[in-house]
Symmetry: C2
Subunit: 315 residues, 2 copies
Amino acid sequence: MTELPGKAELSGIADNIKPYIHRTPVLTSTSLNNLTGCDLYFKCENFQKTGSFKIRGAMNAVLSLGKDELKRGIATHSSGNFAQAAAYAALMAGTKAIIVMPEGVVEAKRDAVLSYGAEIIYSGNKPEDRENKCREVIEKTGAVFIHPSNDLNVIKGHSSCAIELISDTEDLDVLLCQVGGGGLISGISLGFRNFSPKTKIVAGEPLGADDAYQSLKAGKIIPQRNPDTIADGLRTSLGDVTFPIIKELVSEVVRVSEDEIISAMKLLWQRLKIVVEPSGAVSFAALMQKAEDYKNKKAGIIISGGNADLSRLPF
Amino acid sequence: MTELPGKAELSGIADNIKPYIHRTPVLTSTSLNNLTGCDLYFKCENFQKTGSFKIRGAMNAVLSLGKDELKRGIATHSSGNFAQAAAYAALMAGTKAIIVMPEGVVEAKRDAVLSYGAEIIYSGNKPEDRENKCREVIEKTGAVFIHPSNDLNVIKGHSSCAIELISDTEDLDVLLCQVGGGGLISGISLGFRNFSPKTKIVAGEPLGADDAYQSLKAGKIIPQRNPDTIADGLRTSLGDVTFPIIKELVSEVVRVSEDEIISAMKLLWQRLKIVVEPSGAVSFAALMQKAEDYKNKKAGIIISGGNADLSRLPF
């Protein structure tokens, strides 16, 4: 693994992207503290620009482009939150974005991408369809590819979320973060390693898409086959950039069932009065499962996004 | 009408209740500003202790009791947010609360009241059943009655919500607030009259429970008969304390349809990522209907509560 970025670099990045993002609030809840016996701090990226943390990484990736690259524009593939984030980041940086999305994408997500002025190219529904179509687009247009998670600039951008949380809390004993492609937890881990190295980093992962758990166990990347989980943002696999960071910095992967995800999501809606998407609740589901381990401890919990489909709620 | 309370009294009350309540955030949204053409400031009482603004008034009412009254305990009737607020306020003040609730009350609300250590007495489902039962309880126990809305101490407590909003914003042109029994908008109006007298106060009211509209039109209290609205917190009628305040300080009552309420509620969930109960969205529904009138104006919007029943969502 190449050397990991240090304090000065990550602070600089957090400052660079600050004008384009929200400083999201850290919420607490007496009733959830009583329920779990822990001292909980929820970092609410559901309130972030474009509805998820993804804008942090997308913004840093776009701001890291050279003049010539900016002229060429960016391209990415995503059916979810990174699509909106990349479109918004490109708009902010005055460049063009081409987003490859599967044909069946939810209308609201498509409209959001279009509202930021990005171009959408449709592909088939399988991950490889998207990747192939994206490759085609890049060959044809010369656009710069930005991967939604397996990209060091994206990861570095996400570390700003950790920096904010650390500065708004005191000496967290543990930090719980969801893992899908691993971009978020890699960035969060880098942030904590630099600014709060004593905090233990724990991943939450759906049992139906447990490639991070399997990969850490095997000591090599085991790609996710046939993911089956309501947490649609966490169906992707670790990559060659995220895996080594996670392997070095994450202490444990806690796997949670679909029932645990839905019940954690519902508790957040009921008690915190916030809209959290299923993927966004996986970190809290992991805390709920392990609450005994963190009795009276200070636990940070990343609420990664709020783009829930209100017409298809699981409760 | 007796003389209205002034700055010093309301500031003092806001200070007194401060240790027991949350200072709720004021949220803004670029996308809702773009959608409406207005400059919107959402005062989020859905994040308040017990899930609604009601704790402000309940707390002030309880803190206003004399030693002997505190010994006797309090009694009230409510199937909704005031029940939880009164129970919590009594717990905080070290006194006893008896809450008269209809037999069919939602389990979650009943459990919340019990969790604050209050006693529940069940009554029939009609408003007069509750009132009669409450009278019985008071005769038997000597408890001090606190009305959920038509009580000057309750109203004065609610004015703290306006004081916070005014201090967190600059020169609001208009303030939109829902009206049911009128306790909230009376308190809000008193707060604005004292601390931001140029702000116009506009009420939002469900068309299916438009007694405030009818009462202001008639110049006298027209009690609500057979209310028919999803906004369950707004089915009650104005009283002899709230009516004269509203008559003097509220400029206009905007009536909104059920579709307008549901669509406003959904927009708040989608764009602000917050859980708002139907009654809590009526103020925003009124703004949506009148958006043309407030083009480029600064509008404060009271989100009164977040105790939505997640198993019975209207969308």
